[in-house]
Assembly symmetry: C2
Homo-oligomer: 342 residues x 2
């Protein structure tokens, strides 16, 4: 984020972030339903002070839109495959509208049979998974989401990009306004953070990447040209491989390497699939939902009791601030975004 | 393993390992169906040269059996809850018989609706998850299993045991004899390996544990008295928390802390639940299973092409050796096991 933190800022309300995002996206050619779905997620990112998933994403969106590979207006096709499976064919558009359209059916299925899956196919990936997870926890179900990306990450014991940064996110509905949610890349660091280190010419820590010859490097540029590494050594590598398989071949969609081949250097967002699982505590747990919730709350209380933070606490605090006082966006980014709409 | 590797060994065929295990377990009081289910997993561990999950486990089994907390003969009660959910109540016996009895129905459900879950409740956990995963991949489904344990592991940012070692295992069926399988503890190291370091008075690496005052330690003893750490920092901690929630409150069963309280110092195996998800590639992928399999095989080929190993390759090589030539078990362990049956 350091490249964006310095200098003057512009004050915007959360509603203004949404309106600006929608205007730029429709101006670039996205249909209104797609533009609003993407703008909702950009607004959530900016609101929660996840700068790299907020307005910062707009230039990349416009680049993806202009790549000519993405559909700007495809209506997602939702198929009710079975009592436990929904398929959403995004028809080469962004994933978010497909997700929003299919999510109620996914939650309904989970609430009927206990566990259900949503397979989104042929979608251009957009940004973080936690907004989708929160969308589902708001419906009262627990949720697990994963997606491949591009083959930038070497497997443990290897030296070349094969796996994606492959994010995984999970949520558990809680009493009160905020669910338990985590969302992390299975690479040691997000691709965007690696890029920001490169832009700022800042050395990267050990364990983030290797150069084109497979040697450990502290240069973000060398790692971007070589390969990123997974978090947690062979365990992170195994988890990333699971995500390739589950959100790729399992749902009849591309691996990160195939997605990269599809992109063919256009530098658009990755195009592939996404898998989202939803679980209903009432059916999965046999009925005593109050006891289940109390048990989960006791676990969370065990974190606070020893001073450990839950994964999204920082984000929720930022949300409260932004909803009350608006957000501050770097002037340089704001100007760049306005220029996109010129 | 170092404490077990030294000295004389006894040669046993794989069938002899099974017969010995069954004899010791029935001798200790387990009913024949339970003894055979446990003996199958011990035999698989010994055969695959996972020494800490093979015959080495028998003394601990006998201790659990003699703890008086475990049912030695309960018939698991299998409930067909919904098109996507099977429940197996182990009735305070070992989990394995419940798993074996419920697995065919789980696979059948997955093959009918795409994704299905098996919730095993009220079970004493036994050993590794990969034998269960292989049992399911042999039926042609992909599978994901997880379970809590005892609250030995501190969350990221904390300093006291709250999470379990919480293993997670995944399998993908492949053409040929061996599936893709991984199985790892979300603690930095397995509890058993920590114990073996203590027995051998060997220092532990940085990142495995903290002492009772929350300070980093290289003493296995101090970490066993303090807390273990998760693998992969806050990401491993988040994943471990997901396992607590999904294989605990979600399925109406205990967290690792509750399991530890239930144990109340008897040093029996953890008693809690287990969650296993099964996925049918044909239904989840929309039908072109050959293309899906080819896509997965291309991913695996990408590992070999850069000299990276797949997670279970060492185990499969050991299996081939053991099936051809039998296993070699340390004399000291063998004598200790014979004494259990005296």
């Amino acid at each position: 984020m350091s490249a964006l933190d310095a200098g003057d800022t512009v004050a915007l309300s959360v509603d203004e972030v949404f309106a600006l995002s929608r205007r730029i996206l429709t101006g670039a050619g996205l249909s209104l339903p797609h533009a609003e779905a993407v703008a909702r997620v950009i607004t959530a990112g900016e609101r929660d002070e996840c700068a790299s998933h907020g307005l910062f994403r707009l230039p990349g969106c416009v680049q993806t839109i202009q790549s000519g590979k993405m559909s700007l207006d495809a209506e997602p096709v939702i198929t009710d495959v079975s009592p436990a499976l929904v398929r959403a064919d995004a028809k080469l558009a962004y994933s978010l509208l497909a997700f929003e359209r299919a999510a109620p059916l996914l939650a309904r299925k989970a609430k009927t049979v206990g566990v259900a899956a949503l397979a989104i196919n042929n979608c251009f990936h957009f940004s973080a998974l936690w907004p989708e997870i929160e969308h589902l926890t708001d419906m009262g179900v627990a949720a697990l989401a994963m997606t491949p990306s591009h083959a930038w990450v070497a497997p443990a014991g290897g030296h070349k990009g094969l796996l994606g940064t492959n994010p995984i996110a999970f949520g558990w509905p809680r009493p009160g306004p905020h669910p338990y949610v985590f969302d992390f890349a299975t690479s040691a660091i997000a691709r965007g953070d690696m890029a920001l280190h490169d832009i700022a010419d800042k050395p990267i820590p050990d364990g983030w990447g290797i150069d084109a010859d497979g040697r450990p490097t502290n240069s973000a540029r060398a790692a971007l040209d070589g390969a990123m590494l997974t978090f947690g050594g062979h365990k992170g590598s195994a988890l990333s491989t699971m995500i390739e398989l589950m959100a790729g071949p399992l749902i009849g969609d591309l691996t990160s390497r195939e997605s990269m081949a599809f992109d063919d250097g256009s530098r658009a967002a990755p195009m592939h699939g996404e898998l989202i699982l939803a679980f209903d505590p009432a059916i999965m747990g046999g009925g005593d939902v109050e006891a289940q919730a109390a048990r989960a709350e006791a676990l969370f209380a065990g974190f606070s009791a020893q001073g450990a933070r839950l994964p999204s606490e920082r984000r929720y605090a930022a949300r409260a601030r932004s909803l009350a006082h608006g957000v501050r966006t770097p002037q340089v980014l704001y100007d760049r975004i306005l220029a996109l709409g010129a």
